[in-house]
């Protein structure tokens, strides 16, 4: 066996950051699609979405637009429950499980920086989540169309887009949890706890706060912007219906006071929820490494 070594190896110039991120993303996407949890989430989301669409469209009596309005209201609530849980748990498992099985140290011993690894995983999982959302909502749109509804393409596009933004925010939050926890089980547990707080806890806290501190309407609206799920809910309804009547006085105040600039406000809030956890995760991961 002959072994030759070139000391002026081409390896002295590692691939560009974007190339590295892309390859890690592709690997992560393939891994995610192959995992059981992802298949289960996708199937559950699609099945529940189909159920909601079928029931809503059946009750619409052929009134397509109102049929889809009812469907989209049901889907918004479904997205609020399923998508954050899916994204949070995917993000939480990403780094912590690799750390636990010794894969993280091996990956970071390659010409790969911690930020490239984190962003690559983020991109791969984001694409997987997008596929899941598009599959679920696409099936729902088909059912609505099949039941004779005049399918409002822009509504479903808004819903899919906003669901994806929510998923990105929750994915970044999950990855932040994954970076700061040592064990995958702790990361997953923390992710589920955060999900419970966002889905149920903040609503209860807002109600209690309003009663206890006699919050003014603008304060109530400002506080509701802290929760990305509330932002998603308000933005989705605003984008699809242009009114926020169903959400009560705080939402009505928001429409009166901010009008069309609500899109920008909601957009800034969700962008902050995407960028802040991801940036923090990158900084902490770079400093902390595998230790």
């Amino acid at each position: 066996m002959q072994t030759t070594v070139s000391l002026t190896s081409p390896l002295s110039r590692p691939p560009h950051t974007l190339v590295t991120v892309a390859w890690i993303g592709v690997r992560e996407l393939k891994d995610a699609i192959g995992t059981r949890w992802f298949t289960l989430y996708t199937l559950a989301f699609a099945a529940l979405g189909l159920g909601v669409s079928f029931v809503s469209a059946s009750g619409s009596g052929g009134s397509g637009l109102s049929g889809f309005g009812r469907t989209s209201a049901g889907l918004i609530n479904l997205v609020l429950l399923v998508v954050p849980l899916m994204a949070l748990s995917a993000g939480a498992a990403s780094i912590a499980s690799d750390r636990e099985r010794g894969m993280l140290a091996y990956l970071l011993a390659q010409p790969v920086t911690p930020v490239e690894l984190l962003l690559g995983k983020f991109v791969g999982l984001a694409v997987a989540l997008l596929a899941c959302i598009l599959l679920g909502l696409g099936l729902c749109a088909m059912v609505v169309g099949f039941k004779g509804g005049a399918l409002n393409a822009s509504s479903i596009a808004w819903l899919a887009g906003l669901s994806f933004l929510l998923a990105l925010g929750m994915l970044g939050t999950g990855m932040l949890i994954s970076v700061v926890t040592r064990r995958a089980s702790v990361a997953t547990g923390t992710a589920v706890f955060i999900w419970l707080v966002l889905v149920f806890g903040t609503d209860l806290a807002l109600m209690a706060g309003t009663l206890t501190f006699r919050l003014r309407i603008e304060e109530l609206f400002a506080l509701s912007l802290i929760n990305p799920l509330q932002v998603f809910k308000m933005w989705s309804l605003h984008a699809i219906d242009s009114t926020l009547d169903v959400l009560g006085p705080a939402a009505l105040y928001a429409v009166e006071e901010h009008g069309e600039s609500l899109h920008a406000i909601f957009g800034l809030c969700l962008s902050a929820w995407i960028l802040a956890p991801l940036t923090l995760a990158c900084v902490l991961f770079s400093r902390k490494g595998v230790s």
Binding site: M1, Q2, T3, T4, V5, S6, L7, S9, P10, L11, S12, R13, P14, P15, V19, T20, W23, I24, R27, D31, G34, D98, R101, G102, M103, L104, A105, Y106, L108, A109, Q110, P111, V112, T113, E116, R287, G289, V290, S291
Partner: protein, 298 residues
């Protein structure tokens, strides 16, 4: 090739690596020796940029902390036990790590052939034995022929047979112009692969010596090189291992590290087991470094 200056890594109040300075030139082969907890693996992790540390490490002219990606591009790394993408097939795993190293077209067949894993292309990583996984890790470490090879107790999780085979591969790699830094607590591995030994204790580098001095100080005075017919070599390996020696296959026979007053003992042991020894040679420590069967490619 590798320069470490004042490297210190603390975990809370404990200094896992304490003010270590060392230089490895091109083609050098240095063993990190010391008991568990001496700081060998931590030092390697600092070199790879896996731990933040004090002091400066330069790899091939690149600072391991500030330009870690560039520094690691010059390093092939084999850990003690590898955590892989278990669902991947071997070929896909090699291709993936090749891409991360910027290698557009990986000669996968050639790579596997090189480490003795031909025909394993379509096998899933989870179906490989421990020894085969280590060979896969070695194949990945050698992608693109990096000038530096870093090994962290690579044979610790292997059985006797797997260790012998793996050492045989590594023996062919050392002395081929590649710089090697490896952690081990096995004298036979150090004798086979190292030119110098860096002794670590409680995180500190207590001595750096040539391998002959190290072997003498640890009671290993010479090697006996035994020419044994190929068909009886596996049995001879077992007999010698059971007899308390640490024999190693080197492609043309068996090398046995022995104390100076025990040179005939391996031959006597094999004779009692009715194993034919065609020829033998005593290699003293002073000449060991220059002896082809021990350090050179076969």
């Amino acid at each position: 090739m590798i320069i470490m200056h004042g490297v210190t890594k603390r975990f809370r109040r404990i200094a896992a690596v304490d003010n270590v300075s060392m230089t490895l030139d091109a083609g050098d082969s240095v063993a990190l020796w010391g008991p568990n907890g001496a700081g060998k693996s931590t030092l390697i992790r600092c070199l790879l940029g896996l731990h933040r540390h004090k002091g400066v490490i330069t790899v091939n002219g690149h600072n391991a902390r500030s330009h870690g990606k560039r520094a690691r591009a010059s390093i092939g790394y084999v850990p003690q036990e590898i955590g892989f993408y278990d669902d991947l097939v071997v070929g896909e795993a090699i291709r993936h790590f090749g891409r991360l190293r910027g290698i557009r077209r990986t000669d996968i067949d050639g790579t596997l052939e090189r480490v003795g894993l031909p025909g394993q292309l379509a096998k899933r990583v989870r179906d490989l034995s421990g020894g085969m996984k280590q060979r896969l890790a070695l194949a990945i470490a050698l992608l693109g022929d990096p000038p530096i090879l870093v090994l962290d107790e690579v044979t610790a999780s292997l059985d006797a047979c797997g260790r012998e085979e793996f050492m045989s591969f590594l023996g062919q790699l050392s002395g081929a112009g590649r710089t090697m830094l490896f952690a081990s607590h096995r004298i036979d591995e150090i004798a086979a692969l190292a030119k110098r030994v860096a002794v670590m204790e409680s995180g500190r580098l207590t001595a750096v010596m040539d391998v002959a001095s190290f072997a003498s100080s640890h009671g290993v005075g010479s090697f006996v090189h035994l020419a044994i017919p190929e068909r009886t070599r596996p049995r001879a390996m077992c007999v010698l291992s059971e007899g308390g020696f640490e024999p190693r296959l080197n492609g043309v026979g068996i090398i046995v590290p022995v104390r100076t007053d025990q040179k005939a003992a391996p031959i006597a042991l094999l004779a009692r087991a009715s194993i034919t020894v065609d020829d033998f040679e005593i290699i003293s420590r002073a000449t060991a470094d220059a002896h082809a069967p021990i350090h050179g490619p076969t």
